[in-house]
Symmetry: C2
Subunit: 299 residues, 2 copies
């Protein structure tokens, strides 16, 4: 896999995503190659055109000879346990390209397991040799939180018809985007959406400290208009991260999150397995969750 | 608070939600009163009319003299850190009623902290004396997973215009609902939606073992049509849970989840605080997340 074998990467990814016992050993082996890829998160409301935009970026990177990984994260398929969202992924044109690795990651219902799994998947893709890793998410809310925690650069995508949304969730959205995109820029209301976002950013809500000036771009993922400019903005952000030290600060945050999740996931699973003996006492109110929790923690 | 004081309950809820150091002692004191309320989860896509339906149910319960708690869970406001979604809550008519306790719970960005917080909030509401606790969620995906883990009875709400969604996420949705509601039943397509849901249930996808026969109801939360029937279905499900033993099984699952989250939250926070010394070594690839995680676990 370290030599770039795609089938091997695919198997490694499955093992890591399923939290196989061998995943620790793999992550130890893969981690030395980490940090080489720019991890680009793409988030925004459903229907904003994130997948099409991701596919456009992949084309641009491939033309430059870069290896690209795409992780499509779908927290909404957490219940059914592993649904493949291939149909949502407008990126199938790249499926046969040996320089592109595409995988969708469903989360199997484990709140908190999502991010943990993505960190592992990213290590696999970095070790496989990716220069760019695009993490695309379906849905909003928790998904955006996750993206912001694993990506170096976050692209927030909206459309002219979703201006109300920008208004409504101004603060929350502004805090996670490094680059803002008004996609479907051929629709009416583009200028209003652009200026609304700029106004919100003017309130100092950006997640990047100066000298980064958060770009607000208009694209049409369908025709390709503006996607080169987006790609240039992403390069500029990578340079900003390197030069300002913000990249290292963010990397440390990612590691902090990854290790904490590693530890708490193990403990969570261990606690689950120890709990059976307490469940009747809890159901009968002979003890309480805080007391049982404290006892397990002590052990 | 145990005497039913609302202001005291409000303060207790804030302390629990903010994971105050006193929350352990409170949960110990409150837990003895747990199990008396039916915890009703209401989920479904945005725009299905969940809040209006919740308000209708509150009215019915109040007419019967029951005390009601409403928790509105908003995972999408996790980023901005505590936004109050009062404006989304069509339930303000009950805000001055001393037999109703309404609170919205944003999640402050902590993936996994959501459910933990809701368990604590439910203990407060039970100790305050609630007979029914409605947990309403904004958004889909993780939110539904959370609801299914904390509620005794889950109502899945959809509308005639959302039939495609039912088709698409059939399995995932079916696995979490105990009662299905096609709201906005005055719109065209109601019968199609009802029969689609029934067909999916016919595939044996319900989360309840027999003898429960999952009701599929049509309501209009706006006019109130069908809401009495929904309320009757919820009573029937409560009886089913008591009589079949499924209620105790589900309660044990809730306790299992609550304690595991309790333990892993503490460990997560403890790990976060211990990590600083490793972050430079990680950033410099002198070690890796699995090795650091294992070391902290050992400690």
């Amino acid at each position: 896999m370290l030599a770039g074998d795609t089938a091997a990467a695919s198997r490694a990814l499955s093992l890591v995503i399923n939290e196989d016992v061998r995943s620790d050993a793999m992550i130890r082996a893969f981690f030395m190659k980490s940090g080489a890829a720019q991890k680009i998160g793409i988030c925004g409301p459903p229907g904003a055109g994130k997948s099409t935009l991701a596919a456009r970026l992949v084309s641009i990177y491939r033309k430059r000879g870069l290896k690209v990984g795409v992780l499509a994260v779908d927290p909404s398929s957490s219940i059914s346990g592993g649904a493949f969202l291939g149909d949502r992924l407008r990126i199938q044109e790249h499926a046969m390209d040996s320089g592109v690795f595409i995988r969708s990651v469903a989360t199997r219902g484990m709140v908190g397991g999502v991010s943990h799994t993505i960190f592992g998947a990213i290590h696999v893709l970095e070790a496989w040799g990716c220069d760019r890793i695009i993490v695309e998410t379906v849905g909003t809310g928790q998904a955006e939180v996750i993206i912001a925690r694993v990506a170096d650069t976050v692209v927030y995508v909206t459309t002219p018809t979703m201006g109300d949304e920008i208004q409504a969730m101004k603060a929350g959205v502004m805090e996670i985007g490094d680059v803002f995109v008004v996609n479907k820029g051929d629709l009416a209301g583009k200028d209003k959406a652009l200026s609304d976002i700029k106004a919100a950013l003017g309130l100092g809500l950006s997640r990047d400290p100066p000298p980064w000036e958060t770009p607000v771009l208009s694209t049409s993922a369908l025709t390709g208009t503006g996607v080169e400019a987006l790609s240039a903005a992403l390069e500029a952000h990578a340079k900003y991260l390197r030069d300002s030290g913000e990249g290292r600060r963010r990397l440390k945050q990612q590691h902090r999150e990854e290790v904490s999740l590693y530890v708490s996931r193990r403990v969570y699973q261990d606690a689950l397995s120890q709990l059976d003996r307490y469940l009747d006492d809890l159901a009968d109110h002979k003890t309480d969750p805080a007391t049982v929790g404290a006892r397990i923690l002590k052990k």
